[in-house]
Symmetry: D2
Subunit: 105 residues, 4 copies
């Protein structure tokens, strides 16, 4: 799976009833609740990372990605906009690094 497929699954679940789907239920509770869950999962990922608990980090990182996409869904923001932002930033910084390497010869 990739993140774009996860975005599609979330879009699909969002159309289910709140009884059937955790995603639909969370979205029905509104942006504050979605954002709160993102914040909580980030705290758990931070703790797992600092403790060096790799198995837990995998689970918490998955929770962060999932709830980040739910927040984007709640905001009506396509993941593609976020990936474009990342592409621009990291491509630029790649060029800057290349330029720096050339300067040093």
């Amino acid at each position: 799976m990739n993140l774009e497929e996860l975005e599609q699954r979330i879009a699909l679940r969002a159309r289910a009833s709140a009884d059937e789907s955790y995603t639909a239920k969370l979205l029905a509770r509104g942006m504050e609740k979605c954002a709160q869950k993102l914040g909580e999962e980030a705290v758990e990922a931070v703790i797992a990372a600092v403790r060096g608990d790799r198995a837990e980090l995998v689970k918490e990182a998955a929770d962060v990605l999932y709830h980040l996409l739910v927040v984007l869904k709640a905001a009506g923001t396509p993941l593609a906009e976020v990936m474009d932002e990342l592409d621009n930033r990291t491509a630029l910084s790649g060029l800057a690094e290349k330029a720096a390497r050339k300067e040093r010869g």
Copy 2:
């Protein structure tokens, strides 16, 4: 760009010197610092989301994704493990939803 390409770019930057690359510098400061940045960016994403500031949310969501991958890099955990975890979870919940739909006829 997709998340796998971002993972590759981060792996590339990680090999640069801390002078040249923000990524290398952050990784050199250790896991606590990487995790702290992840937590801070998540807080900013939460605030942008709750305020309904979509332009800011795009930037902060990009920061969350980037710093999450830096934390995974610091932990030596491949993104693929996180995506597999997400695949298992959301596939299962898809089956559960399908079963629920059948039951209702």
Copy 3:
């Protein structure tokens, strides 16, 4: 010092110019910035706690208390309201515990 004195000091600083006082500067940047700082300091306190770094925890706990009072100031909420809330909750739970002890004999 106690928390009420800290609240008074923050109220005093809030009247200084933003050039002179970090507190005044932070308040001038608005609630989002004050709340963001609170979130960031909480993340740092969490990390210090999980790492078992007691010296760092003292500093980060101080930062959390300070920025929490700045947020209350920005909201125009007196600390006394928060302390009353705490009093009500913990007094109640004390009674509940006392009752439970009596029931068991």
Copy 4:
């Protein structure tokens, strides 16, 4: 009530059984769980602050104070150390402000 009294109440509850007392139960789950709760409550306080929901902010600020003291208890760190740290910092910055006022005449 003041924060020192809350610290005493938490110390008292800590000696109860985990069945009777939320405080005792949380402490029994270990520092990671206490720190996680602190992080989660901070996220909720941030959200209440940014939304301008003052009634909710009072509750969440109370939760932050309570869970911060639980974390200090779990770490065996007296609140007095944190208050001394705050006293030193804010006293110093008061002197700096006074000096600045004198310079300007």
